[in-house]
């Protein structure tokens, strides 16, 4: 196993994974290393701009995403874990490709070149491309018997300008399926989690989250697995119904399957206790 060829990637964690979901970020990086995927954190990265910059100032949001691109060394792909960050980074790259003057102005400002042909990919894409056999070879804990809703939220919805980019449909199922978990197809997998409305207008988001959770409960799922750390938080935080279903970030499940020992440490940070799911797994094993 130690002889798996290490593949190097630049890694953009994004604000949510760097803070709110810090432990799962660390375990995921460890897990990735076991798979021979060497995620090298982008030196001095900044926020991708997020919807707030996008809302308030186009130039600002472009420049914030562009600064990250200027920090990425050429020659290895840039991996993002957050689907939104990925959108913003890719959109910025598109824009810098088309607007040479803007790019040159930024390059001059920072005294760094910005490579516009840098490949920007999502971590799931990396796994699906390089990691499926490595995953099976390295799994330490079977996920057999775990019925999960692959919750993509808005991950799969893209602005028309990015319509030619890779589509993630089914990738979570491919990856977690390889580890033995069973996807529950008939829940609200693609319903948006509410994004910032969860902070500004909880009364709008709460009933919608309720519907998502109810759909998962009706489909008899053990848990939901999200592609995005903000979805993970919103779905737990805004669920006021009796049905309490744990919500995992994709990277947590991955780390778990690869034998992470410290999961109790990050599990206690969940707002909904995920331990019943784990007990079910160990009973099945």
């Amino acid at each position: 196993m130690n002889d798996v060829r290490q593949l190097d990637f630049s890694y953009f964690p994004g604000c949510s994974l760097a803070t709110t979901a810090a432990e799962s970020n660390r375990s995921m990086m460890q897990a990735a290393r076991i798979l021979g995927l060497n995620l090298i954190e982008l030196e001095d990265w900044n926020c991708c701009g997020s919807s707030s910059a996008q809302t308030m100032c186009k130039n600002l949001s472009l420049a914030m995403a562009a600064r990250n691109l200027s920090l990425a060394p050429a020659g290895r792909p840039l991996v993002a874990m957050c689907p939104r960050c990925l959108h913003y980074l890719r959109s910025a790259q598109e824009c810098l490709k088309a607007e040479v003057e803007t790019r040159e102005a930024l390059e001059e400002k920072w005294r760094r070149p910005i490579t516009t042909d840098l490949e920007i990919i999502h971590f799931m894409e990396v796994l699906a491309r390089y990691g499926l056999d490595r995953l099976q070879a390295n799994a330490r804990r079977s996920l057999k018997g775990m019925r999960y809703v692959p919750y993509y939220g808005c991950t799969l919805f893209r602005p028309p300008r990015l319509a030619k980019e890779k589509y993630f449909q089914g990738e979570m199922e491919n990856i977690l399926g390889a580890l033995g978990a069973e996807a529950v197809p008939d829940a609200l997998s693609y319903r948006c989690c509410g994004s910032f409305l969860s902070a500004t207008d909880p009364e709008i988001v709460t009933p919608l989250v309720q519907e998502i959770i109810a759909s998962a409960a009706a489909a008899k799922a053990d848990c939901l697995v999200t592609a995005c750390a903000m979805c993970q938080l919103n779905l737990e935080m805004r669920n006021t119904s009796k049905a309490k279903i744990p919500i995992f970030h994709f990277s947590e499940i991955l780390a778990l399957a690869l034998g992470a020992e410290d999961y109790e440490e990050w599990f206690i940070r969940h707002l909904v206790d995920p331990r019943p799911v784990i007990r079910k797994l160990s009973r099945a094993a």
């Binding site: 604000c15 707030s52 914030m64 948006c192 910032f196």
Partner: protein, 198 residues
């Protein structure tokens, strides 16, 4: 509600003032700024039916496009919908004409801010401002700081205190912000002409 003045070419629009180019209808202006051809919309209403947040909106997304096409500037720039839209792209993924509705919303929000109209959902713009303050200071989003600042600003502390405390207890909110080392590179980017620096 004021009476719309569709496609009048003699009004001095802010666009005219800014660019010196006369005669652009609101729709043409939005088209230019958003890079989205909203004339292609034929009001099939898929976007309005699919938007998860439509119940909280005062106009459905297709109605927003209609208001723009009709040149109803004040109605559309002061509506709630453009602020409630989170840019999830559920709508554009379903739109038979591949219209980037979220980018139209982005453009309309910016126009609303630039033209100083009454903001349809002031609490949302407050929130974005708070996030930007955090980004300007640290280069990354510091959630606790954002929550504290935001709740203070809109006086909604009690409403959400419970969830906030739960998150604190679970260490979901870091006390100390994670920050960019070369934060000057970030602060320099915050030179939007309409905005006071924090």
């Amino acid at each position: 509600m004021s009476i719309a003045q569709p496609l009048r070419h003699d009004v001095v629009t802010p666009y005219l003032e800014k660019t010196g180019k006369p005669g652009l209808s609101l729709a043409a202006e939005v088209k230019e700024q958003s890079g989205t051809d909203l004339f292609r919309c034929y009001q099939c209403r898929s976007c309005g039916n699919g938007c998860p947040f439509v119940q909280a909106m005062d106009y459905t997304p297709n109605q927003v496009l209609r208001l723009v096409q009709f040149g109803m500037r004040r109605e559309v720039l002061s509506c709630k919908t453009i602020w409630i839209c989170v840019g999830c792209h559920t709508c554009s993924s379903q739109c038979p004409m591949s219209i980037d509705i979220a980018s139209v919303m982005d453009t309309l929000r910016l126009m609303a801010v630039e033209e100083g109209v009454a903001i349809g959902k002031p609490n949302i713009i407050d929130f974005h401002e708070e996030v930007l303050r955090s980004l300007e200071k640290y280069g990354r989003a510091h959630k606790l700081g954002i929550m504290l600042g935001y709740k203070r600003q809109t006086g909604r502390w009690l409403k959400d205190l419970d969830v906030g405390l739960k998150m604190l207890a679970k260490r979901k909110l870091d006390l100390i912000p994670s920050r960019v080392r070369d934060v000057k590179e970030i602060t320099e980017l915050f030179q939007c002409y309409w905005r006071e620096s924090a």
